[in-house]
Point group: C2
């Protein structure tokens, strides 16, 4: 199971043209193909931050002419878009090395609990920055919760609840087991709750993609969970003069570091949480590393490896 | 195999809010669930005209701030969006009648031939209307082919090539055969060509969804191809005083009517073409009818049935 960070599709500061995104996705897929050549079956999931941000902003800029779509629908759009880029590029890169296998991406919904405490305290900023008068209008007319984001302006905040289940997990598993390379749960999946009558309904929230990747990885009984990001390893005291790179840690150590507050919320913290959960649920190991070093990290010569015992 | 017309998601003149689209999709799914209750396995495909039109227009209205995505990427976005609405609603409606089965939608690419003569003569208008000065700018800056659309303004035209293959067909078939309700090839699939090095590449074109539905139906060896639209039956001399509804026709009759020019291009013509191809490839029958009468039409008491022999 491979979880791709946002930088696998668009690096921060890059121009978000379709060409640039295809170029990045192509490079990402060339690296992932090495894992297939090495004999691994893959399920790929990915972030969608910059893409869903663009879709949201296009909705806002057009709101006097066209109906804006809610966040769940925008998330599904981003799954279609990124899934398309990934599945086309994976197929192309596989073909270049003489491998032909079916590659598909599935629109995926992730169940969350309406009573999750995250819904009482939305903290995840999404979309554009607004000035205070725009902020007042959006608060009133759209019912958005808005916060001052580090003095750069006001932004909408939504909840980031815990994932509880993946609605399409059976189909994903069936495809994976039949030798299909599956792309699923993009952006953590579309957040969905079960209503009183048992019906599913999308909600405007975001779900951490690494926690969802773990859930899917454990469900399909994947051997490894690879979280590919823009840092080479997990660090203690990250960004401080005494920062220390971690090559390996066991679950007890990872838990202690978490408690000690070494890992940033929304960044390394959910990754380490996902790593612990995956190994506890029976997975062989989790690897957190840079996209460039995926193969080496899986072999143990790069990145940070988390296992039950050292 | 069921091909849903655009009216299954949004009727012309309706406000395109997410709520309205979910309402329509819910009603559509309640009808399709009857087919599942009757014991049929389903693959569903759907149009995407109004949705991709909205996405394109949002791109255009935001083009001074954000990079517009090309038509192939917008099509993939619409697949994610409509796929999400359909798979959530189908699951909900199935649950209401006590059926639980996996429902997924797959991002789908459809191969077209770069040498298709349609590419030399783009005829399919897409997106918004522009005045003549805007038209000149778009022609120069974006390289768009533009035409005067019935005096209502200028619109971009793209090609509508013949579908040649469905890239993800194997995975679709595997899922269908394992009892999954599959939603695929939305909007006819993302048009894709094979480049000189064998790589796939999206192109800015549109593919008739009914012709793609036929291709998929024949490939999975579906018994029936249902094309659900906003008219009750196929008509000869449609819209004229002497119009005649057709209850049944065989292939020879359908071919003759096509030759005689009874069916409108981009509307009933590709449906009848798809019907002929499906039955010729070994399918039992094709039914063209209104969404409301799907069950009755399959039983032969509504719509137009096309079979090899009467």
């Amino acid at each position: 199971m491979v979880a791709l960070g946002g930088n696998a599709i668009l690096k921060s500061g890059e121009k978000g043209t379709a060409e640039k995104q295809f170029e990045n996705v192509g490079r990402t897929c060339r690296r992932l193909v090495k894992l297939v050549v090495d004999g691994y079956g893959l399920i790929i999931t990915h972030g969608n931050g910059p893409q869903v941000g663009d879709i949201l902003l296009k909705n806002e800029l057009s709101r006097n002419v066209l109906f804006p779509m809610p966040l769940d629908v925008c998330g599904a759009q981003s799954q279609g878009m990124i899934g398309y880029m990934l599945q086309q590029s994976m197929r192309n890169e596989l073909k270049k090395v003489g491998k032909e296998m079916p590659v598909v991406s599935l629109v995926t919904q992730t169940l969350v609990d309406e009573s999750d405490e995250a819904f009482r305290n939305p903290t995840k900023p999404i979309g554009s920055f607004y000035d205070s008068s725009e902020m007042e209008v959006l608060r009133k007319e759209r019912g958005w919760q808005m916060v001052d984001d580090s003095g750069r302006g006001y932004r909408r905040v939504v909840s980031s609840p815990e994932p509880r289940d993946i609605v399409e997990r059976k189909a994903i598993k069936r495809l994976f087991e039949s030798g299909v390379l599956v792309i699923a749960a993009g952006g953590g999946g579309v957040p969905t709750v079960v209503g009183e009558d048992g019906s599913l309904r999308g909600v405007e929230a975001v779900i951490d993609k690494d926690l969802v990747a773990q859930m899917l990885a454990s469900y399909v009984k994947a051997d490894f969970l690879l979280m590919l990001t823009d840092v080479k390893k997990v660090f203690l005291n990250y960004g401080k003069p005494d920062q220390v790179a971690i090559d390996r840690m066991n679950i007890a150590e990872a838990r202690r570091y978490l408690r000690e507050g070494h890992f940033a919320p929304g960044s390394m913290r959910p990754k380490v949480k996902a790593a612990i959960r995956f190994v506890e649920a029976g997975g062989e190991k989790t690897v957190i590393c840079s996209l460039e070093k995926a193969v080496e990290a899986l072999e143990g010569s790069a990145g940070t490896t988390i296992q039950k015992e050292n």
